[in-house]
């Protein structure tokens, strides 16, 4: 399976967002500053936005899903239960995943932003997809919620997962690293080697590298383990 962007560009006002390269199986982290173009890449990857230039090729991908940055954007059901069904997943398990057991009849818009975010992620991550695009999956979640979502994402490694986020601290173990330079998406390589080339790396990773220790990955456990290596 492969999602290939060939000379893709989208015009946004006075600048162009440019993407070239192929997303392969595993967790692909797309990092970048706010407004760099992460959501645009997510929308193009999911097929809901056509590029102004270039082309996107899907090889061996038959099912795909996008988790929106704003969870309201994906709503189609008028109750929580209807919303869960709309993803074709089992309501009881998904509601339990989202800590919403017994609230199936509630209006989804009566949930807090964090609850709604977790519900939409639970729905999306309850089913296997060939291509799974997660746009800002950690936004509106507390630390506990972020760690839980990291575990869910790590179970989806057999798909192409495109994880677009500017989260710096709580991240799942990733396979490939992409980064926006201005508005151009650049492939930094496979982890861990790519971490040394990561311009917008979290301070913790930069500090570890400056002290001669390359973490094995970007998760909290990996950062902790690398820090322990320094201490000897």
């Amino acid at each position: 399976m492969e999602l290939a962007f060939e000379g893709v560009s989208v015009t946004r006002g006075s600048y162009d967002i440019r993407v070239s390269g192929s997303f392969c199986q595993g967790i692909n982290l797309v990092s970048g500053r706010v407004g760099s173009g992460k959501s645009t890449v997510a929308a193009m990857a999911a097929g809901i936005l056509s590029p102004d230039g270039g082309s996107i090729h899907r090889k061996g991908i038959s099912t795909s899903m996008l988790s929106f940055q704003f969870p309201e954007s994906g709503l189609t059901g008028s109750t929580v239960k209807e919303e869960v069904y709309s993803y074709g997943v089992h309501d009881a398990d998904t509601l339990a995943m989202a800590d919403l057991s017994g609230r199936g009849e509630d209006d989804p818009l009566s949930l807090s932003r964090g609850e709604l975010k977790k519900l939409s992620l639970a729905c999306v991550l309850s089913r296997p997809w060939d291509l799974l695009v997660l746009d800002g999956p950690f936004e509106a979640l507390d630390c506990r919620g972020k760690r839980e979502v990291c575990r869910w994402i790590e179970h989806r490694r057999s798909s192409i997962v495109i994880l677009c986020t500017h989260e710096q601290h709580i991240l799942p173990r990733i396979d490939a690293l992409w980064e926006f330079q201005e508005h151009t998406l650049v492939f930094r390589g496979l982890v861990p080697e790519a971490l040394a080339r990561w311009d917008l790396a979290p301070t913790s990773i930069k500090t570890l590298i400056s002290r001669g220790t390359l973490p094995f990955n970007v998760s909290e456990d990996d950062i902790r383990e690398a820090a322990c290596r320094i201490q000897g």
Binding site: A46, I48, M65, L66, E72, S73, G74, L75, T76, S78, S86, Y87, G88, D107, L109
Partner: protein, 217 residues
């Protein structure tokens, strides 16, 4: 049009002209084709075309009952096209600027604010329908008339919720009555030409030409 006052004037005059006679509707249609962007404007967003559904229903009823349906359809159809142009060309803040310019900072601000809120609600509904279409597409659920009926209740509730939030926001920002809108307008030469032609069409439409020719004879 850059100047919302000239756009508003043109839209009002052409709507009256189109409503009153077939010839007025023909002139308004010519103006629409020449100055509004015509069919290209409809391509930008097709959903305002839904306004033609009730017009078609009434026209069919008139036809079935043997009443004058053709004139009604043409006149109201052109009025709708002009209204769609007014909606598509409207920019956020235009209502407040025109109302504050015409009615002063207090009354004008209130009237303009009401217009802005109403216009914002229409845009909100348009965005919501677009958002839902995208969500249905992603989930692989067909989006048709049945889906629109299913989501319409949700749209109404979403609109009520939005209104509630806007009211809270106005209170939080200390709004009680009136305000101050410093309206500035720029008119391009094309604005003056198009609105001038709209005024001419309006006058032409109401000139008693028949009597004029009888007098010459």
């Amino acid at each position: 049009m850059q100047d919302p006052r000239l756009r508003f004037l043109s839209v009002v005059l052409l709507s009256i002209a189109a409503f009153f006679s077939i010839s007025g509707a023909a002139l308004a249609l010519v103006w629409w084709l020449l100055f509004s962007g015509g069919p290209g404007l409809l391509k930008r967003s097709g959903w305002p075309l839904i306004a033609f559904a009730p017009l078609a229903l009434v026209t069919i009823s008139l036809w079935l009952t043997g009443m004058e349906w053709f004139s009604y359809f043409i006149r109201l159809g052109v009025v709708l096209l002009i209204a769609i142009y007014a909606y598509q060309d409207q920019q956020s803040g235009d209502f407040i600027r025109i109302a504050a310019w015409a009615l002063g900072p207090v009354k004008g601000f209130d009237v303009g604010l009401a217009g802005e809120l109403a216009f914002g609600s229409l845009r909100f509904l348009e965005d919501e329908v677009r958002r839902m279409r995208r969500a249905f597409f992603l989930k692989g659920i067909p989006f048709g008339i049945k889906s629109i009926l299913t989501i319409s209740a949700g749209l109404v509730f979403a609109l009520i919720r939005r209104t509630d939030e806007q009211a809270d926001l106005l209170v939080a920002r200390g709004y009680t009555r009136g305000g101050m809108a410093c309206a500035r307008f720029t008119s391009s030469p094309m604005d003056l030409i198009s609105s001038g032609i709209a005024i001419s069409f309006f006058i032409l439409c109401f000139l008693p030409f028949r009597e004029f020719f009888i007098l010459i004879q």
